[in-house]
């Protein structure tokens, strides 16, 4: 055994056993300091064999590493002790950060927009105060249709009214563009309904319009199906029933299988397994003619939905008026 290895063994034992940073510092000075036996011996280096000098240098480096390691360990233990003593109650609440919200109707509207954007549709928003032409005439709604009545519609004058559906946007859009058209049209609509749990004189609709070559009712069904599967889950099915709207021919109503009971029957679907969602149809060729689109070349479908209805169904709100009261206790749930 050499002097150096004995020195290393002794110093290592001492350093590993150091109980505090002060002890360690004393040991470092003792074994590695300017007056330590190792330093003194190295000073005599010139008189030493090359091999021994190399061994002493290795020992020095080794001891320096040991001190560094021991110091890190002692520091870690010390800081943990400090932290442990400070005892923060981590179950106390975080600092308050005010958090706003988008209205539930906006959240749903965006979701609908995003589904259709994903299908390659644009979002078109037209005016709410419109003339009778775009709300009724261009949509081939004849003079006797009940929706034209003063009892159903808010008129500003004989020819100007608050739109009763988003369909005037179809007219605006087709007047402004050439087909193909793939668009949805969300927005406020107005009907002379006395407010109650399911009626409001103002509510939100979203309407879809497709104008392209060779569009069929099957395309309508496929599109509606995809939309409802996105919105209500992949197991949904849809069905189309005959109906009447002035601006589509054939017209249909579409239902979706109840997502609450999985079509087994529950109060929401009136135990039928189906929920009525909205109206749709193949665009009436006369509507195309009214906006200068050639019905022999182009065909299309349209469908419309109530946004509040979707929100109420999906989130279980019992009353449509809740959306317009803006009570934070309601809005902040979503």
């Amino acid at each position: 055994m050499s002097w150096a290895s004995d020195y290393l063994d002794e110093a290592r034992a001492a350093i590993v056993g150091a109980g505090s940073l002060q002890d360690l510092e004393q040991l470092r000075v003792g074994y590695l300091g300017r007056k330590s036996p190792l330093t003194l011996r190295l000073r005599e280096a010139a008189q030493l064999e090359i091999e021994e000098r190399a061994e002493l240098n290795r020992t020095k480096i080794h001891l320096e590493d040991l001190v560094k390691t021991a110091r890190r360990e002692l520091e870690r233990v010390a800081i943990e002790r400090v932290y442990a003593d400070s005892a923060v109650d981590v179950t106390l609440p975080g600092d308050p950060v005010p958090r706003g919200r988008l209205h539930l109707l906006t959240q749903i509207r965006r979701e609908i927009e995003d589904i259709f954007l994903g299908m390659g549709y644009e979002v078109f928003e037209g005016d709410e105060v419109v003339d009778a032409w775009s709300n009724f005439d261009a949509l081939t709604t004849d003079a006797g249709h009940p929706s034209r009545s003063q009892n159903d519609t808010f008129y500003l004058s004989e020819d100007v009214l608050l739109r009763t559906h988003t369909s005037p946007d179809q007219i605006r859009l087709m007047e402004a563009r050439t087909p193909p058209i793939y668009a949805i049209m969300p927005g406020r609509v107005y009907r002379r309904d006395t407010p109650d749990a399911t009626h409001s004189p103002t509510f939100l609709q979203v309407e879809a319009l497709v104008v392209d070559r060779g569009i069929t009712l099957a395309d309508l069904k496929g599109t509606v199906l995809h939309f409802f599967r996105q919105l209500f889950g992949p197991a949904r099915e849809v069905r189309m029933r005959t109906s009447f709207f002035p601006f589509t021919e054939p017209s249909v109503e579409f239902d979706v299988t109840c997502f609450i009971c999985d079509a087994q029957g529950c109060p929401v679907c009136k135990h039928s397994g189906w929920i009525e969602m909205g109206g749709a149809g193949w665009v009436d060729p006369d509507v195309f003619r009214n906006v200068g689109v050639d019905p022999d070349e182009w065909s299309g479908f349209a469908f419309g939905l109530g946004i509040e209805r979707i929100a109420m169904l999906r989130h279980g709100l019992p009353d449509l008026r809740l959306f317009w009261e803006n009570d934070l206790r309601v809005l902040e749930q979503f």
């Binding site: 706003g100 500003l156 069929t216 189309m240 809005l331």
Partner: protein, 763 residues
Amino acid sequence: MKVPVSWLREYVSFDLPLEELGRRLVFTSCEVDRIVPRGVPDVDGNLDRFRVGRVLEAVKHPNADRLQLCRVDVGEGDARQVVCGGWNFGAGATVAVALPGARLANGLELEQRKVRGELSDGMILAEDEIDLGTDHTGIMLLDSQLEPGTPLGDVLPLSDDVLEIETGYNRPDLTSVYGIAREVSALLDVDLAPPPGRDPERAGDEPVDVRVEDLERCPRYIGRLFRSVAVGESPPWLKARLLGAGMRPISNVVDVTNYVMLAFGSPLHAFDHARLAEGRIVVRRARDGERIRTLDGTERSLTPEELVIADAERPVAVAGIMGGEETEVSAETETVLLEAANFEQLGVLRSGERLRVRSEAQTRWEKGVAPELAEQAAVYATQLLVELAGARWTGDADVKGAFPERPVVRLRPERAEQVVGIPIPADEQRRRLMRLGFEVSDDWNVLVPAWRASDVRREIDLVEEVARFRLEEVPPTMPERTAMFGRLTHEQRLRRAVSDVLAGCGFVEAYTYSLQPSDPDPSALVLPVPLSEQQRVLRTTMLFGLVRAAQHNVDVGNEDVALFELAHVYLPTDGALPLEPWRLGGIARGGFFRVKGVVEQVFSMLKEEPRFTAAAHPFMASPACASVQGGWVAQLDPRLLEGEWAAFELDLAELFAQVPERILYDDVITFPSVKEDLAFVVDEAVPAGELIAAARDAAGPELREMRVFDVYRGEQVGPGKKSVAFSVVFQSPERTLADDDAAVLRGRIVTTLRERLGAELRG
């Protein structure tokens, strides 16, 4: 419309279960709300417990003055003892009897029991107990020819099902039992019975004085005269049908008019001929000031807008709406004038709106009834009046104008597949159309039946007629795309971003009404006939809806209210239509600067520098108000909303106009900036914003940033003065600014602020 199924089966026969028929009609024809049983429940042999009985003996109940004790033969050999409350019969009467265990129309189960000490082993029935009428004043008396013990169901319509359907605006033909039968016939491809009714022999040739002055609103008026009419009760089958269809039986004459209306969808009316002045019918416009008391007991004043049926002197009915009380058929009536007319739909619709009334007849006229049906209705009603009221038909008038033309439409059978997406064989299309009453020529020219003439005018309408029977089978497919659009516009993306910023700042989005009770702009658009005073004016500002929403939250005890809304306002223009710019409005509890900070966030997101200036609020008094690009920020007058509140409103088009379509990289790395703090002492009246604006003028684009971090007032600066401290950043995109360069910029700022605003740099 309620359709008694026994009635439907009279016109079309079908084997499939009723539920399945209902399910399929939902796809092809109309909403079927539900199928409800009516009358006596037809379950567990219940009908066997109803029999014809003959009263052998009827005496007063020994212990009750109001009851009779009867012995009734119900064909069992031994007679049964029955206690009965009716007195309209005696021994020998033929009656309807329910035996113990029978369940009545109201669901009650009959038991053998003692009534005042005497056994009652059954019940003698009044019509209401088996849903054959509403009368409970006496028991039903049956034809004395009937054998005791005959099952009651063989002689009375004890039990039925009713289809409750909803019909669309475009299908007047579905407001009739025969019309529904026609749908069933087309749906199931089975025969439809010919329309019921055959004219009996006419028993006279009296003139009937019918004049029609307005053939446009009344294109047809058939008036038929009946003498020796015995007004009385309708037979049970007729009452049962009417009750099943939801109408109250009144008298045989009135019931016949209602029954035929339900059968064909073309309403009729019966007048007491003796009460018509000069026995005359004039269909004309009402004269100003004329009045009529209608059958609902309401006194109505009329205007020349109203079409009326008048006699020689006065209106006796409002055309298509309701008859008058004075000429109503009553028990004394002997001569009846039957009206089977046609009234044009719009006229009836408008009259109904003006008079605020609804009747069964009106709901049919409003949908447009074919004038051809008036004749069918007249014939069937004539047959029934002769059969059921013993009437003699003695006179006939038929006044006609022009009827709507029945369209002839060419159909290309291959068109259906192009619309529906599945092939529909040509022969199926032909058969379906013919079942629906269309006449289809060999080369596919299709003549539309009168009852669909207003609704089916074009090829696409015929396609719908065949397509609707196949909707259940349409598969889901997707359009083949040749063009894509799937992206929001720049403006739409910015609107989403603005909302997100507001939500991020702790504001909750509100939806308030476009229609408000009032508006500060006197030219704002006002609804001439509002639904309520609360929703009357189209708003030109977002503020008041938000104030109301905030107030509501305060009222229900919510704290920390901060709301925003992004929606339209409606600005009047010289033209007919308003402008509808998008506005962002916000309101929050707290001071001016809370809300201003949020507005600054919006500008920051939009990469715009807001320029606030002190300004009077555009439409209200405000303790602190600033204008900024596109709008305003203001502290609210506490009279508007109690406590400390502030609000803002910004026009988004104005804001978005300045937003760059794309953001270009700004080199802030290559040449370091120089930062320093500068404080100026200035008159209290000088706004900080003006100091900054002047500094920008002086230093140019190398003044990268200048923001206030402190305002000090006190002894050190003297009265009427304030010290405003700014942190200032100088930076050039082209060179490193040396200390000298910064000193030059600072010097320019100091000089300009001193000269323009009297500001002194603080040492």
